[in-house]
């Protein structure tokens, strides 16, 4: 079994309302060094070993987990995969 970590973020140029709000809040807390905040999603997949594993994970991202119109994603194959639970 392999474990994949997927990070979904807005594409460059797409306004990120929660990120912009967090940036303003941090600034008002005195963290004036903040230049930008981007908020995205973290998804972890556990996948049974098989052929075309990474291709299929990419397909899952394109079809369902991310929306290519507004989002980019990054897949990281995690070390030390363990069974669920």
């Amino acid at each position: 079994m392999a474990r994949y970590e997927i990070f979904v973020t807005y594409k460059k140029g797409i306004f990120d309302p929660p990120g912009a709000t967090a940036a303003r809040a941090l600034d008002s807390l005195g963290y004036t060094e903040i230049e930008s905040v981007k908020i995205g999603k973290y998804i972890r997949l556990e996948v049974a070993d098989g052929p075309d594993e990474i291709t299929r994970v990419r397909e899952m991202c394109d079809k369902l987990l991310a929306n290519p119109v507004i989002e980019d994603y990054r897949i990281v194959e995690a070390e030390g995969a363990v069974s669920a639970g």
Binding site: Y10, I14, F15, D16, P17, P18, T21, L64, L65, N67, V69, I70
Partner: protein, 230 residues
């Protein structure tokens, strides 16, 4: 002329659409999201709500409901398809309409009646002259429509921008009139041939003069009149 209103798990405006249609004398019935046959229906409505709990993204899971393959075929044959609120989000996720929805700019769920300007468009669901200002409720958290600049120009040039948020007098504020931050104040768009229409406002809530007004009526009756050749 018979409308089919698709019921997804988590839809919550399907009864409103059915009641609105019946009030307007339109024959209507529910369509289950697991159905794969739209025989007998002349128009399809994807209603508002929170299909599949809005998990992953609004409309992202509903798009793969069994009925959607048939809705796509129905639309490809020219069948009129209307997506209201969550239905609009589903149409975008299914790539039946371009663009996507972001969280509302102010991060607030917005529930209010807003002025909307009818734009000159090719949309077959519109039954009032362009320039008309309608007052229709919006009720959403993710209605901040966005699309890439090339597609936006194509939408503009092709008469596919159907409804815009505006000020009560029909003008657009310099900083934008969309309460949700939608690009170019866009509240509703259609496909190139005008049979697929998605909008964030809820016209089904404004069909009865004794309940909120009648500004939503024309979206339903226009399709019936067109089909009847009136």
């Amino acid at each position: 002329m018979r409308f089919g209103v698709v019921r997804f798990p988590g839809s919550n405006c399907e009864q409103d659409v059915v009641i609105a249609c019946r009030y307007l004398g339109i024959d209507v019935d529910y369509v289950w999201h697991g159905d794969t046959d739209l025989a007998g229906f002349d128009a399809v409505v994807l209603p508002g709500g929170f299909s599949y709990g809005d998990y992953i993204r609004c409309g992202a899971v509903a798009r793969f409901s069994p009925v959607m393959a048939e809705v796509i075929r129905f639309a490809e044959r020219g069948g009129p398809v209307l997506g209201i609120c969550n239905g609009f989000q589903i149409l975008c996720e299914a790539h039946m309409l371009p663009g996507a929805m972001l969280r509302n700019r102010g991060l607030k769920f917005i529930c209010e009646t807003v002025p909307l300007r009818v734009e000159p468009s090719v949309c077959g669901w519109v039954g009032v002259p362009s320039g008309t200002v309608l007052r229709i409720p919006i009720n959403h958290n993710e209605g901040n429509f966005t699309v890439d600049p090339e597609t936006l120009s194509r939408l503009e040039a092709g008469g596919q921008v159907v409804l815009r948020y505006c000020e009560p007098d029909g003008t657009r504020a310099p900083g934008g009139s969309a309460p949700n931050g939608a690009l170019d104040d866009i509240a509703g768009i259609c496909n190139e041939s005008g049979n697929i229409f998605g909008l964030m406002p809820h016209p089904e809530r404004v069909v009865d003069p004794e309940a909120n007004g009648t500004d939503g009526q024309s979206f339903f009756t226009s399709v019936v009149e067109r089909m009847a050749g009136v």
